[in-house]
């Protein structure tokens, strides 16, 4: 599978996630078992009105989405894998008026479980948050074929 195919699959996938669209999440780069996504700054997701710092929940959604979508970059066939757990460590508040990026990787793929790592950062590279997640493999047949075809675009 090429990186273009990975990127297109992730794009089509996140287009079906209402909350990802609401937040304006976009795909930056995709590789084998790696993915970078971007959360644009918006006044609507501010958690602290005094400082304009966005709420951790928006970062959690960015990291959950990136960690869940990097699975598409690691498996040949599209499988929807529910999140088992997420652990997020917040290093520092995100600087207002700037986008936040998240870079995720699958660091272990087993028959039943996928283990992911994800880092959220801003321009300049300072880490905002780190996240590890585990996802359950329930098999591709658990997802309707029509939806799988929508994501793969009939490429596979």
């Amino acid at each position: 599978m090429t990186d273009d195919i990975r990127m297109n699959r992730v794009r089509r996938f996140i287009e079906t996630l209402n909350q990802a669209c609401e937040l304006g999440l976009s795909v930056e780069t995709a590789g084998e078992g790696t993915l970078t996504m971007c959360l644009p700054y918006s006044d609507r997701i501010i958690g602290n009105p005094d400082t304009g710092v966005i709420h951790g929940g928006a970062i959690t959604t960015l990291m959950d989405t990136t960690s869940g979508s990097v699975i598409l970059c690691a498996l040949e066939d599209f499988e929807l894998c529910p999140t088992l757990d997420l652990r997020v460590d917040y290093m520092r508040p995100a600087e207002p008026h700037k986008p936040v990026f998240a870079r995720a990787e699958t660091y272990k793929v087993t028959r039943n479980i996928i283990f992911t790592r994800c880092e959220a950062y801003q321009e300049g590279g300072e880490t905002i948050a780190n996240c590890v997640g585990t996802f359950m493999r329930i098999g591709k047949e658990a997802t309707p074929k029509s939806y799988r075809d929508l994501i793969t675009g009939g490429e596979a």
Binding site: T16, L17, N18, Q19, A20, E22, D43, R44, I45, I46, G47, N48, P49, D50, I54, H55, G56, G57, A58, T60, T61, L62, M63, D64, T65, G68, L80, P82, T83, L84, D85, L86, R87, V88, D89, Y90, P93, T143, P144, Y147
Partner: protein, 144 residues
Amino acid sequence: MTDPEILSYTRETGDFSRLLESVPYARFIGLECERFGDDLIFRLPKKAENLGNPILPAIHGGVIGGFMELSAAIYLMMSQDSLRMPRIVDFSLDYLRAGLNRETYAECRLTRQGNRVANVMISAWQKSRSQPIATARAHFLLED
């Protein structure tokens, strides 16, 4: 959030509308809160924009996380005489069941409060409190 007038109004009346109105992210996901005696119950009404998985359909896991995280912060702020939004240090979230496209509730419990750090447990459910869709644990830094 730090407006002392809004905070004392909320503490006195148990009416969270002004407080929640002042936090954009609370409006973004639609978080609501009600006080019953000393207990707080947080509510996340059904909202199409909060969905992730379109097949079930299910609420986006990140929104469930954000809902629980913000609930914990408000709970902590109300349980102490702090005027500041506590700063989250870490958040550990277990997804137990799919959060279906319906109203979701959350309650919090202060497990331990030290001088500088507080540990809060959060439980979220939909149909029945005894069948949580997610449980979480968070550490907050208390700075005043």
